[in-house]
């Protein structure tokens, strides 16, 4: 059996692993990435692609996204492979007075946190797209939000990482892991041989708890399923990402005044025009284990929600659907952190629906953590693993 040594072993070939690989390799570290499947073969190719601040809790959360946006803008210039980057901003639309009031306070808080948000009135909404329902009252805008193709972004990061010397081993599942108490080295068993690593980064997404469990960790991440509809090329409906304000409610588990099914499946409209002029339309949120099959009842519900906001696209053509599992954490923030009880073991997972948004900042931060830098690009406390120390059972 082969045996190889590496300074940093990243477990997970999704967008998070890709970004960490890129920044660590670029910083001169010796990096190996392993994945049980292919690059971007899990959640990172079963999602939509946005670097959003608009839907982040004002404060640390939205600032983290803003930093990520800046990094992605840089990446769009420094990486060789195009990943369909655009930065047209994004909007949230409101369907009730209550939502408008909530939106105003959202905008105020985001502005206070230093982000460029503003309210939109009925007229602005009409200007935004002639396809919108007439009864929408207004909404809000985040000017800095950007959009990318998630799997092309992942491919591009890996392409960049390998140019800086990163090694990528695919179809290479972690079968077991141990840490030598004397040398402190990690021994990782894979079908392609043993890997000895000084440092390990668990970027396993929904599988992070499974990987963590090999060293006795209890990582509070659960798969939360989301569906997306792909609609075929048609006339441009709008130029940028649109979400209904209710998306925030659904994301943060707040009460909404919607019909039973919409509530049950956590359906909230998310609309994204892609570079190939298709439309990606979501969204849903369900805890149904690791079942990735598309549930047509959920898709029906999303289609109804779409028509509610865009009645004029009822005759547009749906060409396929897909669903992905988002790595959910109890407080909706990711874990990007060293693990105190296991020196040189790190976790970068649990981004739920924000993995694409936060990949760049995660990669950058993890590189700094791996190098034991004191001054990091963003504060690390809110996303430390240790915040879950006292959470013994995960509540959904």
């Amino acid at each position: 059996m082969d045996s190889r040594n590496t300074e940093v072993l990243i477990i997970g070939g999704g967008v998070i692993g890709a970004a960490i690989a890129y920044y660590t390799a670029k910083s001169g570290m010796e990096v190996t990435v392993i994945d049980k499947g292919d690059i971007a073969s899990g959640t990172s190719s079963r999602c939509d692609g946005n670097i959003l601040a608009i839907d982040k809790e004002p404060g640390f959360d939205s600032q983290m996204s803003l930093e990520s946006q800046k990094l992605v803008d840089q990446l769009s210039k420094e990486l060789d492979l195009d990943f369909e980057y655009r930065a047209p901003g994004s909007i949230l639309v409101c369907e009730s007075e209550d939502e408008m009031i909530a939106a105003e306070s959202w905008v105020e808080r985001q502005k206070k946190a230093g982000l460029s948000f503003k309210m939109l009135d009925r007229n602005d909404i009409k200007q935004e797209s002639p396809y919108f329902a007439d009864d929408l009252l207004g909404g809000l805008e985040c000017e800095t939000d950007s959009t990318i193709n998630p799997y092309l972004f992942t491919y591009s990061l890996f392409h960049g990482a390998t140019k800086y010397g990163a090694k990528v081993m695919l179809r290479c599942e972690v079968e077991g892991m141990s840490r030598d108490s004397v040398t402190g080295l990690f021994k990782v068993n894979t079908p392609k041989g043993e890997i000895i690593a000084k440092k390990v980064v668990n970027a396993g997404g929904i599988w992070a708890p499974y990987i963590g469990n090999m060293l006795g960790l209890d990582i509070p991440i659960k798969p939360r399923k989301g569906h997306i509809i792909v609609a075929s090329r048609d006339m441009p409906v709008g130029m940028r990402k649109v979400m209904e304000f209710g998306y925030l409610m659904s994301k943060f588990g707040k009460e909404r005044t919607v019909d039973e099914e919409t509530d049950k499946y956590g359906v909230a409209l998310v609309f994204e025009p892609t570079e190939s002029q298709n439309f990606l339309i979501g969204s849903s949120r369900q805890f149904v284990g690791f079942d990735t099959r598309v549930d047509m009842d959920v898709v029906n519900c999303i289609a109804r929600r779409t028509i509610r906001f865009y009645p004029k696209i009822a005759d547009f053509i749906i060409i396929r659907t897909y669903s992905g599992l988002r790595p959910w954490t109890p407080d909706h923030l990711p874990i990007v952190s060293p693990v105190e009880e296991i020196p040189n073991y790190y976790i970068a997972a649990g981004h739920e629906g924000d993995g694409i948004s936060l990949a760049a900042i995660t990669g950058k931060l993890m590189t700094e953590l791996l190098q034991d830098q004191i001054n990091t690009i963003i504060p690390t406390d809110p996303i430390r693993y240790s915040r879950f120390k006292n959470v013994s059972t995960i509540q959904t």
Binding site: R233, D234, M235, P236, E275, S276, Q277, D315, F316, I317
Partner: protein, 111 residues
């Protein structure tokens, strides 16, 4: 019936007389026969080009003729992506060829 049709066939016999159906293709008035598909009626009228590729503008006609390839998709009234090869023509039907669409996000094109 027009010259595009196979009226007499040595094994299948003579084509039955059928009712005419009047329809338009991109505003041109054409005649087909009851029970036939848009694709058949258009080909019998000498129309080979049914649409162009939405992005590149390259011309397309029927390819598989049994609903698999989607190449013959046309617009019928307000309906998009109607497969000409599976859809029976109706009196007064307005058939429109598929056109090139704007691609505002393609690199090198104006937003």
């Amino acid at each position: 019936m027009s010259k595009g049709r196979i009226i007499d066939h040595p094994i299948l016999g003579r084509l039955d007389e059928r009712e005419e159906v009047h329809f338009t293709f991109d505003e041109n008035k054409l005649i087909g026969y009851e029970g036939e598909t848009i694709a058949a009626a258009l080909l019998a009228n000498g129309e080979r080009v049914l649409r162009c590729h939405e992005e590149t503008g390259k011309l397309r006609g029927i390819y598989c003729n049994i609903g698999h390839c989607m190449e013959c998709r046309v617009n019928v009234g307000n309906q998009k992506s109607v497969r000409a090869c599976l859809t029976v023509i109706q009196e007064g039907m307005e058939v429109k060829s598929g056109r090139k669409l704007p691609t505002p996000f393609k690199k090198g094109e104006t937003q």
